[in-house]
């Protein structure tokens, strides 16, 4: 499969997903409203804390909150859409038709992640506009900071591949990973600085790449540069995650092929 064919296939998934989203009209509207409500809630919360004296966060706590939820949105979508992809096709009953393609199985996984990325982009624009126009929070998103945001998204896709593979064999595993993944909100500084955590918990924070993604985005917006540590950690973590993801997916696929669990849901 050449590059052109690969992107044609990826695009087919993106179009299919948008058609499917559009077929659920109320869900579609909710999908558009959700980030507006989300950014409003945290915008007001940040402003209240700023009015009460603030936390000393650069750009104010409302800026801290908004950058946190925008970055988290990209990371969450990157992780969940890729990890959910195979299981969803199995559930619908279309997995066999996709598997019968001569292409590699990573196509539906990466395509679903890409499809989720387009939703994140739309939500990102909405949140940016609400933050700017309603709360007067100026997000100085430069090209490097946006690229770093994309890198943050890419860095979790590898882990999504791994979960997608494990979910072929153990259907309930995704619920376990959902709990673990949401605990990252606590450790990684989405809503409050990592420094506010007990010192033992801060060691866990520093072991999770998402912490560096959030710090890198915030620093690039408020100070105009990305810290070197974050610039090194993110691509390395992404590559390690991708390697782990691909190996896990292959191993799980092989086991599913041996046990006859590939088509079964």
């Amino acid at each position: 499969m050449d590059v052109k064919e690969y992107f044609t296939v990826l695009w087919a998934f993106v179009v299919r997903d948008w058609q499917r989203r559009w077929s659920y009209k109320l869900n579609f509207i909710a999908m558009l409203l959700y980030p507006i409500v989300w950014v409003s809630v945290f915008g007001v919360l940040g402003r209240t804390i700023d009015d009460a004296g603030g936390t000393g966060a650069p750009g104010g706590f409302s800026m801290y909150m908004v950058t946190g939820i925008i970055t988290w949105r990209f990371i969450r979508v990157g992780f969940f859409d890729s990890s959910w992809s195979i299981r969803w096709e199995q559930h619908i009953g279309t997995f066999k038709n996709i598997y019968m393609l001569p292409n590699h199985l990573m196509i539906p996984v990466s395509a679903t992640a890409l499809s989720g990325f387009t939703v994140s982009m739309l939500n990102f624009v909405e949140m940016w506009l609400v933050a700017e126009l309603v709360f007067g929070i100026s997000l100085n998103m430069t090209v490097p900071s946006f690229l770093f945001l994309v890198l943050a998204w890419l860095s979790v896709i590898g882990f999504g591949f791994a979960i997608a593979g494990v979910a072929i064999l153990y259907k309930e595993i995704q619920a376990v990973f959902t709990v673990i993944f949401f605990s990252f909100q606590f450790f990684c500084g989405v809503f409050f600085p990592v420094e506010a955590l007990p010192s033992a918990a801060q060691y866990i924070s520093r072991a999770i790449p998402i912490t560096y993604a959030l710090n890198g985005i915030r620093t690039s917006i408020t100070h105009g540069y990305i810290p070197t540590t974050d610039l090194i950690v993110m691509p390395v973590a992404g590559l390690i995650g991708l390697a782990i993801g691909l190996i896990t997916l292959q191993l799980c696929l092989k086991k599913a092929l041996r046990d006859g669990k590939l088509e079964r849901y």
Binding site: V9, R20, Y99, M100, L101, P102, G260, E263
Partner: protein, 312 residues
């Protein structure tokens, strides 16, 4: 030979699903795998289509080993089952557009409308969501999806399961039409003897993971169940007194008579004796159905297996 299966074995948690089956299929042949539920038909098809790994044995599709070159195999084969699904919230056009892009098919819309028309689907049907399709319509669209993809080998794994008798009959007739025109190699699995007899050029009978017989449906029936049957109505005042080595037994119900022949090749001699001996009307010769042959064969096979086990 486009398909070669040799000494194929597969176990699931200690239960033998396939116990060393072997068969070959020629290019353009319609080959049937006939067997009761749990005989190993779907397992065989799944292995041939790279959806399941065998424990032992060789499977080559178009010269490619399913274990070494699965991607090459997948490019050559497609499966149709009654379990196949589409995206219910999307229209037929949207579904087909998606799958055509995946398969790299050009002019998919023209092809879809052309094949669809031959299968009895109308253009207005394509604007409907799949959620509004009947099982029969969905199965037709499933066939269209395969025809658009146009693989040289097609596996039909109990494709009429769940269809009502009328839809099932229509679907078989469509398949027959497609098979005649398209020059595809087809593996057809079913436990429905009638379907297999109607569609397949050769059949392998599978029972408990073993192939117990392979041949053309007619030859298979003759081999497994050589009896033929002569039915007639006897004139009231006549008494039938018929003796011949070819006759297995005679059944009489009122003036309706059934003569079962052990040796089907001597049927003409026996009929001649009957018409010379008594006055008859409504005389007809009946062949056993594949169903009768299959049931008898499966029962014999199971008896043989039980006897073999009792010696151990």
């Amino acid at each position: 030979m486009i398909i070669k299966v040799q000494d194929l074995r597969k176990e699931f948690n200690g239960t033998t699903a396939l116990d060393g089956i072997s068969f070959r299929v020629k290019t353009g042949e319609v080959f049937g795998l006939l067997g009761p539920n749990g005989a190993g038909k779907t397992t065989t098809v799944k292995i041939m289509s790279t959806m399941l790994l065998p424990d032992e044995g060789i499977v080559e599709i178009g010269g490619y080993d399913v274990l070494r070159r699965p991607q090459k195999v997948r490019a050559m084969v497609d499966i149709i089952t009654a379990r196949d699904k589409f995206y219910r919230r999307l229209t037929a056009y949207q579904n087909m557009s998606f799958f055509s892009r995946l398969y790299g098919v050009e002019n998919w819309k023209d092809k879809m409308e052309d094949y669809g028309e031959r299968l009895g689907l109308e253009k207005k049907d394509y604007e409907k969501r799949l959620a509004d399709y009947s099982t029969g319509m969905r199965q037709k669209l499933n066939l269209v999806r395969n025809l658009i993809r146009d693989t040289p080998i097609l596996f039909l794994d109990e494709p009429t399961l769940g269809l009502d008798p009328v839809s099932s009959r229509k679907f078989r007739s469509l398949l027959k039409d497609i098979m005649d025109r398209e020059e595809k190699t087809v593996i057809f699995t079913s436990h429905n003897m009638f379907e297999v007899e109607e569609l397949c050029e050769r059949i392998a009978i599978l029972n408990k993971g073993r192939i117990t017989s392979v041949g053309e449906p007619r030859e298979l029936k003759k081999r497994i169940f050589p009896k033929r049957l002569v039915e007639f109505t006897l004139a009231k005042e006549d008494v039938l007194n018929l003796r011949d080595n070819a006759i297995d037994h005679i059944e009489k119900k009122g003036n309706k008579v059934r003569v079962y022949l052990e040796d089907g090749d001597r049927i003409h001699e026996v009929i001649e004796k009957i018409v010379n001996n008594v006055r008859v009307s409504d005389l007809s010769v009946k062949e056993p159905t594949l169903e009768e042959a299959f049931i008898r064969h499966t029962e014999e096979d199971e008896r043989d297996q039980e006897e073999a086990t009792s010696w151990m």
